[in-house]
């Protein structure tokens, strides 16, 4: 059982649930107390010790039965059981009309035989189940195995069989009954396959090595990341954002104990007969404002998702953040982030603003901004542009950009492109750079967080 639990924990980790060593130790301790006999108590002990996040509950609920259910196979019924001898003979005769392989499959369905473990393994091998390590592929794999079983042909053949039997004189209700039973058996096989696929994927997940080398990922350019890497990075972003948050909270707290506030101190100490027992300080809380404009066009698409998660994190950090995204025009995306999970909010933005080819227009977007949102920029604002400044040879509207930069406290440009490419082709980076206080290359997540950290410390 311990072995099984360890595998289960590994699979949960692979499924994206963060489980520390302390937590798995708790799980074992809890199971020691509760025992494993009562399944529900066992399940609840694991759930309360391992999962600490409401979002992770569904993956727990999906994986648990795959690891700890005693493999209850879906029930199947033997149709041939209560057939009269004539009927059975009719069936045998009709079956002879089909090819060997089809017949075997049809008999299975009629007799209610489940696929053997060996057959399942073979099927799994055929469709590449052994390489799958993501639950999202479960139904797809099950469908592929159905296809490998040539289920469509079997279904067709069964229809023919029914016709044959009808011609041979089998009674109508009998046929109807058979049809229903066969359908139920088909359903059961389908379930068996889905169960098998789920279990196998769960096993694969548990064998996977735990996430390693996040450092290496941090230094890999955004363009060279797979879906899976992105997943891990997204998690890393939120972790980094948390870290940033506590640093900023600390900084703000320290800033608070700044100058002595004589008036408030006198007032507060009247009750002590004017002896200054409580010292009051001027509230020095930094109240930075942020305006972020993020390019999510095709050329930036591979990193815009991460950039947006960072924008999301920033929004959490600095209450007065206004976030915008643009491709050919500008949209205000702060409302999307309110009250939503980062992932949902980001996909909502990305779906609403689908990329086209070569339609980036930064100049026009700046114009949008200047017309509608200029009042968000003032002397307390830090203005952050995120993008590669590739403008499709449109007018870069440097006039607007310089005007905006002048209005704010600081202007920072984050560019994922290496500096040697700036100014080549349709890149207007060098020209924009003249108006920025800081231009930061951030092609990897490591650089990106460094940039953000630098940015918040300096503000």
């Amino acid at each position: 059982m311990e072995d099984r639990m360890l595998k289960f924990i590994a699979a949960l980790r692979a499924g994206g649930v963060r489980i520390s060593l302390a937590e798995s130790a708790d799980a074992f301790q809890a199971v020691d107390h509760m025992g494993v006999q009562e399944r529900e108590l066992f399940r609840l002990s694991l759930r309360t010790t391992l999962v600490k996040d409401a979002n992770s509950l569904p993956i727990f609920d999906e994986l648990f039965p795959l690891f700890f259910d005693s493999g209850d196979q879906p029930p199947m019924m033997d149709i041939t059981e209560d057939m009269s001898p004539e009927e059975a003979q009719m069936l045998a005769q009709a079956l002879r009309m089909f090819s060997e392989q089809l017949r075997r499959m049809m008999e299975k369905l009629l007799r209610g035989e489940q696929l053997s473990q060996q057959e399942l393994e073979q099927l799994g091998q055929m469709v590449g189940l052994n390489r799958m390590n993501d639950m999202r592929y479960r139904e797809w794999m099950a469908r592929r195995m159905m296809r490998a079983l040539r289920f469509d042909e079997v279904r067709e053949a069964l229809r023919e069989l029914m016709q044959l039997l009808a011609q041979m004189g089998m009674s109508k209700e009998r046929l109807e009954q058979m049809r229903q039973l066969i359908q139920a058996n088909q359903q059961a096989i389908q379930e068996q396959l889905s169960q098998f696929a789920g279990q196998r994927i769960a096993e694969n997940m548990s064998e996977e090595r735990p996430d390693q080398g996040i450092d290496e990922l941090l230094d890999r350019p955004f363009g060279a990341l797979s879906d899976r890497d992105m997943d891990r990075l997204r998690k890393e972003v939120s972790r980094l954002a948390n870290r940033l948050r506590s640093r900023i909270a600390l900084r703000q707290k320290r800033a608070k104990s700044g100058q002595l506030d004589a008036k408030a101190t006198l007032r507060a100490n009247l009750k002590h007969g004017g002896v200054p027992m409580e010292i009051k300080h001027r509230d020095h809380r930094l109240k930075p404002k942020l305006v972020v404009i993020c390019d999510i066009s095709t050329s930036m698409r591979h990193c815009s998702e991460l950039m947006l998660s960072l924008v999301y994190a920033l929004q959490d950090l600095v209450t007065k953040t206004h976030a915008f995204a643009f491709i050919d025009h500008l949209e205000y995306i702060t409302p999307d982030f309110v009250g939503q999970e980062a992932k949902d909010a980001i996909s909502q933005v990305l779906v609403r603003m689908p990329p086209g080819s070569y339609n980036t227009d930064l100049g026009y977007s700046l114009d949008n901004f200047a017309r509608n949102y200029l009042d968000t920029l003032d002397s307390r604002t830090t203005f952050i542009m995120v993008g590669d400044a590739r403008n499709n040879y449109h007018d870069p509207r440097l006039d607007l950009f310089s005007m905006m930069a002048r209005r704010c406290r600081r202007t920072i440009w984050l560019n994922p492109e290496p500096p040697m490419l700036w100014g080549t082709g349709d890149s207007d980076m060098l020209e924009y750079a003249r108006y920025c206080d800081d231009v930061i290359v951030a092609a990897t997540l490591g650089e990106l967080t460094q940039a953000i950290d630098h940015l918040l410390t300096a503000s």
């Binding site: 302390a22 937590e23 108590l41 309360t48 010790t49 409401a54 948050r245 009750k271 002590h272 409580e278």
Partner: protein, 322 residues
């Protein structure tokens, strides 16, 4: 003794909570039982008004412990959560005890000697006498076992959370003037969160986790029957069914159990016999707290002799299925 009662199985926990008028699901009972067994704090999350705080109260009632509550808010710091010196009282005492002080210092010959004597007496002023205990210290120093409820931890700042980690793992506090104060009895700790902000991994790691969602129809009905027994069974069922339907809509604030209970009580107070249009019109604001939600529900609601029907909210249906 009723103090510090220990339960031997989740079932016993469930019954004990039931006696406190708290209907606990198997999940809740098991988690509470495990917290007691493993000596870990309980972190409970879920939408507002599903009974997280109530649970802490029920645990206190069931174990016969005193409930000490710390309500978190932005800007909460150690002085408000842990302890503070009572400067004013100290000052007052120095003034009242002036004669005594003069007596003590009377036959000193040098300033240094006087200072030394004063220093020897200083302990008087930095003793428990002048220590203003805030909830955390109270829970630690209490002679009797307690239940410590740290309510809405997600509202406190991240730094406070970090400070809490130390207290929660060792149950001891160091007061520079007094030394380390360790817990006499480990309190049972319940933390609640509405998930307005992500809590730190470190905090989660130290706790057992319990997500309390909206109850099922039967559970909620049981709660209503228990807490508002005057409401007729038929009406109670209708009311709970309606509330459950409302939760499926895409509302700004879904009605919670506490609102269901308020509503049930209003129905009793109004002596309602059935959910007709007039009753709904006058009482719906007990359930819904936003004008836009009220309008939305009124638009979609159809009251007929069969009961109340609410049109499906296409968008929310889609979202739920997704």
């Amino acid at each position: 003794m009723t103090n510090n009662r220990v339960y031997t199985s989740p079932r016993a926990v469930k019954e004990a909570l039931g006696e406190q008028q708290y209907i606990a699901s198997d999940e809740i009972a098991t988690t509470v039982y495990l917290c007691q067994q493993l000596g870990k704090p309980l972190l409970t999350e879920g939408p507002a008004g599903v009974g997280k705080t109530e649970l802490a109260k029920a645990i206190a009632g069931a174990t016969g412990r005193e409930l000490i509550r710390l309500q978190c808010y932005e800007g909460l710091d150690e002085t408000k959560a842990l302890y503070e010196w009572e400067y004013a009282k100290q000052l007052l005492y120095t003034q009242l005890l002036r004669d005594k002080l003069q007596e003590t210092l009377a036959n000193t010959h040098s300033l240094a000697e006087a200072a030394d004597r004063l220093a020897a007496e200083e302990d008087v002023f930095f003793s428990m006498r002048f220590l203003l205990q805030r909830p955390l210290l109270k829970a630690i120093l209490s002679e009797k076992p307690t239940v410590l409820l740290i309510d809405e931890i997600d509202r406190a700042d991240a730094e406070f959370e970090a400070f809490l980690l130390e207290v929660l793992s060792d149950f001891q506090v160091s007061v520079p003037e007094l030394g380390t104060l360790a817990a006499v009895h480990r309190p049972l700790v319940v933390l609640t969160s509405n998930n307005t902000r992500e809590l730190s991994e470190a905090l989660k790691r130290r706790c057992l986790y319990l997500f309390i969602g909206y109850p099922s129809l039967e559970q909620e009905l049981a709660v209503v029957r228990l807490k508002v027994p005057e409401l007729s069974p038929k009406l109670a069922r209708q009311a709970v069914e309606l509330v459950q339907r409302l939760r499926d809509l895409d509302l700004r604030k879904s009605p919670s159990i506490s609102e269901t209970l308020d509503w049930a009580r209003s129905l009793v107070a109004l002596n309602a016999k059935q959910l007709d249009e007039e009753t709904l019109e006058t009482t719906l604001n007990v359930l819904l707290k936003h004008e836009s939600d009220l309008q939305k529900v009124r638009r979609r609601m159809q009251v007929s002799s069969r009961g109340v029907d609410i049109e499906d909210d296409d968008l929310s249906q889609f979202r739920w299925r997704d």
